[in-house]
């Protein structure tokens, strides 16, 4: 695997974790209702 691919994969995974956590909070908030 090329160096650039490893770096891109690291960025995608790291930002993916943050986005995933935000989505998880959104779903929990929606389930709790108003």
């Amino acid at each position: 695997m090329s160096d650039q691919m490893i770096v891109i994969g690291t960025f995608v995974l790291s930002y993916g974790v943050m986005l995933g956590y935000a989505t998880y909070l959104y779903l929990r908030r929606r389930r709790a209702g108003n």
Binding site: D3, T10, F11, S14, V17, M18, A32
Partner: protein, 236 residues
């Protein structure tokens, strides 16, 4: 739009700007594109320190005031701290493998103390999950939250106390050990990550409040719908 949505939108914009800086900043002659990983690694670890500091503050305030809002703050911040530490450890390992030639070394003070800090705060979240009574949960986790924060200065200064594999601080009050453009990219990302942290913290506290409301409503409904006593049941 609610306050949480506005904050998350601002955070998304800040993160996009941070990403642009990370991908366009000059790279190190030897490290190549792996230099860019530091734009995730350093801000993540900084935010983990801030998050665990806020957890300690919330914990101490709960022990003094015994108000729910401090427990919610401590819990939300600890969760975010664990997430940022996980990202910091992961990105550090990828960078270490490329630049040091090895992803992990238990003999290194910074790596070992960071790993211990990560597991202690995972333990903090496990302790919360394992304690059903809300008051007891807040009390136990507040005590741990106050004690566990000792690790933050230990991790930060481990590179000065024990000279092992990890380099010392690259951005210091007296200047940076790198070209200005690279330092600016890291600082822009630190600001972006801080905005993201605040947005997710407010969102997480909002979730906790909503879930507490639902739990209280369920408890009230449970009080009003009682099963009939045997003495009240008349024979037909």
């Amino acid at each position: 739009m609610t306050r949480v949505k506005v904050l998350l939108a601002v955070a998304a914009l800040a993160m996009a700007i941070g990403l642009w800086f990370a991908l366009t900043a000059p790279t190190d002659a030897l490290q190549g594109d792996f230099t860019r990983i530091i734009n995730i690694h350093a801000p993540s670890m900084w935010l983990a320190f801030l998050a665990f500091g806020v957890t300690a503050l919330g914990s101490a305030m709960w022990l003094i005031r015994k108000h729910n809002r401090w427990d919610r703050l401590a819990e939300a911040s600890a969760e975010l701290g664990v997430m940022f530490t996980a990202i910091g450890l992961f990105t550090g390992m990828v960078w270490g493998k490329a630049v040091w030639g090895r992803a992990w070394d238990w003999g290194d003070a910074r790596l070992a103390t960071s790993a211990v800090m990560f597991f202690v705060y995972v333990g903090y979240l496990a302790l919360r999950a394992a304690t059903p009574d809300p008051i007891e949960r807040a009390r136990r986790s507040a005590i741990l939250g106050v004690i566990a924060v000792i690790q933050v200065p230990l991790v930060y200064f481990s590179v000065n106390l024990f000279r092992t594999l990890h380099q010392t601080q690259s951005i210091r009050p007296d200047g940076a050990t790198m070209p200005q453009e690279m330092a600016i990219a890291i600082l822009v990302n630190v600001i972006a990550y801080t905005i993201l942290y605040v947005a997710l913290l407010v969102a997480r506290i909002d979730v906790a409040k909503a879930e507490e409301r639902v739990a209280n409503e369920d408890a009230l409904a449970g009080d009003t719908v009682k099963p009939p006593r045997l003495s009240e049941v008349k024979d037909v």
